[in-house]
Symmetry: D3
């Protein structure tokens, strides 16, 4: 029998399915009774779950990160589907098809790593190509880079999300760059590769996703500069040649300015063609993923609009599925 | 002898060359003496010119829009090159190579019109394709559309500039759209085609460039809606079928929201994937042209920075030509 | 026995009264028990109502828009009075005095329509008077215009609210205009009449009040331009004379700029005396109604302040009723 | 022979006329030659004047505030008409018709004072009426109040301007207030009377107009509170009755909040119906005068637009005189 | 047995302790059952308390401001510790050690008053010293000034808080002023003394803390000016000498501008060295107290970050206690 | 005969004095005549100078950075004193008293360096003390640090200005820190020392002051992080002990956040007590110096106000010298 995914669940539905558990908590309600609250997820999304009249024993029967079999009933609460759990029990991870739970499987991540390597090894500029090689051959860096999410919430907030965003952005950058001869293609590719590299330490992503202390106090723009400086030094030692000074300056500037505005935490505004272009394309890619996610996972099934997104100051239009404009024209 | 273009002129240089004249004025200085002030341009740029001790006779000897032979000397004034004119006389336009004076020649504009037609006739969606055909076969519209600048100053401020911007944007849109399956390609192309169509009446561009009254009081976003509504009605009459309602709504929304922010005159924020993408790509294209123009025409020849751009809140980095990063690596 | 209105209800009061029902929902609480939630209104206001342990049967026993007899008890919840319902049953609308439930009765609306007609037919300018006549004789337009609310919430959010706001604004405009000779009285009246006309399609107001898709994506400023353009064309055909171009431009500008600031969705700032004046007077009228409503319907009975209004960034001062400054002076 | 007023002067015109002189300065140009610069005004406006090759003797031959006969020629400089003076000599003020030079004559100011007195003596509320009487019978206050301008530049910047603005605003307030029953008419009138009273000391207006030190460091909103407090105390002593506390609070609040926004120097936002209404009506009146002045005095005679007003972020539309919409309809 | 303070309470702890009660309310839950809600405090903080199934009798058994013995259990609710009360009874205030409940005891307040007096009596400038004496000898003023909190929430929100803030600020001002010779030390001290004096009437602080009507409608900046003006007049009468005009102006300016920005309610920006310095030092002192309070009272015990502070737009870093940087270096 | 300094010069004064020359340019006026423009300075300020009818020979007779004897006359131009030069000739620097020309002499700089060293060597925390030692013993760093200005214009814009600002700020920090026990004194001192250290490479200050490319594209906040990271590594190698991680994080955070707001280029807001305090004290010190400089160097001698400072949005009040409040009280 095929699995029923979170994105498919409606109201008042009986559920008996396996999910990935996280953020479990034992809490007391106003009357002092204990209840269990946790987050359940599969690759299509996540939802809250409650078990009333819980106990320490239930709480201790599984850990965050375990797969658990859940029995219960769905209900709508504050506009979101949640599950009232009647039974919860851990499941052996051997019996699980990982592809049902992760947005990116190990294979997909590996494929993305290979794509990244290919693209970087084709750079024409020898200094940039050498520099890229230093990153690619740094196992600690690559391990973090391929596992980090691109954010705690919003777009690409899953293991491998940073890598997926970066590879997607490099593709985008490489098809757009030829339109504007003033753009240096190699700089564009390296900027796309490194613009968010500080996120490998800005975020913590072992169990659940959070900002590290350094992430909150220094931020990935400044942290990325440090990563780039260290690797440039290493690259110079390997190649025996000084890294071109202005080239490095342009690359650092792309990192430091890629949020585009002071109010979004860029200490400098983009002032080179490459920095300007990277800012717009990064923003486009992030917003396209965010919009897609909001539209496809919105639970208010019968509305043509998503719920209001305070941080974005707007709702998004989902439209009428049947009349959707991308529909194929009738055969002619 | 090859022509000396405006972009090639330095300080304290003797000039004897033909330019396109505009904005001529006869003014009095503080001592009451008359002088002639006018703008001279060729395809590489424009500059101010002054003739001291001028007279009504000189003033009447040519019109804005004439080609004039100028003799005089260049000097730097407030950071710009200008010419102190000693002699000015009109030149027969028959003896002129138009390609020296226009950024886009008639042939280039014609080629862009053909490109536009090809792209629009390949739309899959029949309603949008029919609509596009109505625009293409409207001679008045096409004549204005292929002659209008994209702005009074800033990017694409020359005859054919709007057309060039639109064709460039359609190309950009068509290579980017496949990256995001949620985007409807035909909507993206039509949105790129029509987003600035209100500019054909927002601007006046017969002699010199200016905003029309309607342009200043209503603006090209709202004026473009009217143009689209009229053509949609015409298209419905021709095809005998109602234009899909939601499709029209999405297209109008792209026009009305393409400035992206309230403060830039969009009465609505982009709320569909296509409107969001169009805003970023339009902005990218405009800024790439603007940056290119600022960097290549900046007269402060020996500086690695352009002058400060108040409306953009920054200088742009021009860099050291010799060390410019796009330079080819030495043959290996 | 005289009716007890919503605005008169206090805490912990037994209620047995008839109200207008809307927004009924059957929801589950955290324990999975069903309850009915609905909104009850009469002409003095509206309140939420809950019936615990509800069922599908109760839910199906009436429709939104029905009059229902409610038995139950009031209580204060989050600063608002609500009713805990013990019994709910539909009531025959024949037995009802409509004036108890609508802020504006049919007669009042009719009277407002007549007032509007009178005022418009007295315009001096023949082009504007003809245009007005085209609107007045368009039954579909007038039917919508006299039924639409002026907003989904905030000021004039009830059937006929748009009409009442417009007639009030025309009155205001007509007494203020003579103070400023530079204002064209006929333009002022027509601007007041048409400034919000796009709301007839921006909003949906058959059952409950909401924004239409077009309202959210295009907005009533732009939609009003279309309505005006269509009617102007019709007026030209009827009169056989072209509508004065600059007059139309000034009228359109008043519509497009009447929100006064970019951040409130005006794509253009007011740039004519009439547009400037209309913006201030429209704003004054809207804010006076809003303030009145906030002060008179505020339930925190013993406070001299209304609750904080986030969208307005302030509380309003209600003052001490007994010492209220408008009090009549003692007979002298 | 009838006088030629400043507003009637065009370019390159010979002038032999009497004006009011102010702001005279003796300055050196770059070559070290002295020239005289001064401002000339009559009731239709003001303009700069220059006399080249001036001397201390010329400079000392008249004072600011004198009437002077000027001979010279007009020219356009930076978009404004100025005069190149060839001869300047003082004129006996006895021979002058004051009405040619002041926007408001002594009689007009007296008439406005009377109007103000009438309106205030008709207040119903005895406490407010007594308070008003204390102001009216304070000769020092009334002398300043009837002589002060409403501003240094912008609207009503002439002797009596404050009084004219206040009387106009009281009229406006008194015709608008009946539209909104929640407004206390007497409070509205007193608020309009006193809202700008701090300007009598915020500005200096004996010779030329400037801000006083106190005006710049404390501002007329706060200074007006002091004036009101002192007079209230005096009124209480006279009447032997305490001034109603909440009434005073409401009146002070109207003064302190009448700029409407923090960024315009209001330390509090309007929070009573009267304060909200006063803010909008004061703003309307000020902007109507400003717009009128900009449109009627704009020297760019052949343009349909005024020059750009940086502080207002816009140009104003003057329109085509002949086609002006206020034109009378043809007799029917 | 030593007392257990609020700041020491953890989750699920049995409590039998005496607290100060305030804000008691009898409320109905959704099922119509009554419960008692109140705030309990001691000198380390405050928390909410609930007693389910309460009655009018319990509600009437004590008053806000009483000391009450509470029995019950703690629980975490929405990130804060609260108590589920099982028994509540009033306690005789004679048996209480006030120092356990007030942040500042009567003695501490008295000591601060003495400190203030000493500092003010040492001013060199006789006019300022006389003025200060008028304040110090005004019993009503001093009684309010020594009892008022500095705010309703945020920093120094307790009886005596204003006094403590002012004495602390005077100390700060007196050690900083010698660094900048352009600062007038006596003006700095008086400005620090009086900058918030309007708070004695802006706030109400008998039972609980709230803004007075005048506080909300006029604000302590403007109210402080009135207090200063009255006292200056009194001082002039006592000394028989006029208070130096510019000195008074500078002092008033310090009060009126000390919030530093329009958006924080200053009608004027600081424009004298003393006003600029006072703004920064006042802000520093307030923020240091606020930060200290947020960090020391934050209940999320195991986090290195406080919760997000919306009004401040950030979290604060608490750090790892053990590794805390202020740790003493090992003995060398 | 004693020297006449720039700050002492009035209008129309004959000058024969030696100054430091910079920014010399040979320019053409509108008539094509050459003139020499240069800046002259001594320790009290700088002014522009013009020599009309200049030649290449004059231009080549001295270099920027030379001392030159100037003969000519002063005049007021656009509110500033400038000199019309009649003779200019280079002067042997041996004959010069450096103290007349530099705001800080070599001795003063040396004294500041010693003060800095003393303060840093007294730090209690061994890790910070070791780190400080690494900076102090780095000759390249110290040479730049003691020569750099604190800015290109505004406060401390002279050789040694950065050092003077930092030593002053450390003094300020050390007297303020004891007021707030939550502040770590050693962190405060180190933060004050290093907050602007990136300026040693952000600025270029050999001949004249300018931003370096890296300064403009990366900025001193991010550049300071790199400097700190390198030195920390060096310090770890010297001491053989790891630098405490959280301590380093707190120090970096102070650098990165010290501008306090995103809009001033801080990529992070201050989130530790030390970062918050440093931001306020740095801002206070900078603004005190700027205000002092504006007030003391303002040339509009007879005004009680400085000219308007656009970047600061205000004028500053200079006051009436004679009545200045700091004046000593008459002996009693």
């Amino acid at each position: 029998m095929s699995r029923r995914f979170i994105s498919q669940l409606g109201q008042r539905e009986n559920v008996d399915e396996t999910f990935l558990a996280s953020q479990k908590q034992l809490r007391a309600n106003r009357n002092g009774n204990l209840y269990l609250q946790l987050q359940l997820s599969d690759r299509t999304g996540s939802m809250m779950a409650m078990q009333w009249n819980a106990s320490d024993k239930i709480f201790d029967s599984f850990d965050d990160g375990n797969y658990v079999r859940i029995q219960g009933t769905t209900q709508l609460y504050n506009g979101s589907i949640q599950i009232i759990v009647t039974s919860i029990e851990p499941v052996d991870s051997e019996t699980i098809d990982e592809a049902d739970y992760c947005i990116l499987t190990e294979q997909e991540i590996e494929r993305l790593v290979n794509q990244l390597g290919e693209k970087l090894r084709q750079l024409d500029n020898p200094a940039l190509r050498n520099l890229a090689e230093c990153f690619l051959s740094d196992e600690v860096f690559m391990s973090k880079f391929s596992r980090a999410p691109a954010g705690v919430k919003n777009h690409h907030a899953y293991h491998g999300g940073l890598l997926e965003h970066v590879v997607g952005l490099i593709e985008l950058v490489q098809i757009v760059t030829p339109q504007y001869p003033q753009l240096n293609p190699d700089l564009m590719t390296m900027g796309a590769f490194l613009h968010d590299s500080g996120k490998i330490d800005e975020l913590e992503y072992d169990r659940s996703f959070a900002y590290s202390d350094e992430g909150q106090m220094i931020g990935h723009l400044v942290m990325g500069i440090k990563i780039l400086e260290d690797k440039t030094q290493q690259s110079e030692q390997l190649s025996g040649e000084p890294f071109p000074k202005e080239l490095l300056l342009r690359l650092k500037h792309m990192i430091v300015s890629h949020h585009g505005e002071y109010e979004f935490g860029s200490p400098k505004l983009p002032m080179t063609p490459e920095a300007i272009a990277l800012h717009f394309l990064d923003n486009l890619d992030a917003k396209m993923h965010l919009a897609n996610q909001l539209i496809t996972t919105d639970v208010i099934g019968d509305s043509r609009w998503t719920s209001y997104q305070p941080s974005w100051g707007r709702k998004l239009f989902k439209g009428t599925p049947a009349e959707d404009p991308p529909a194929e024209p009738p055969a002619e």
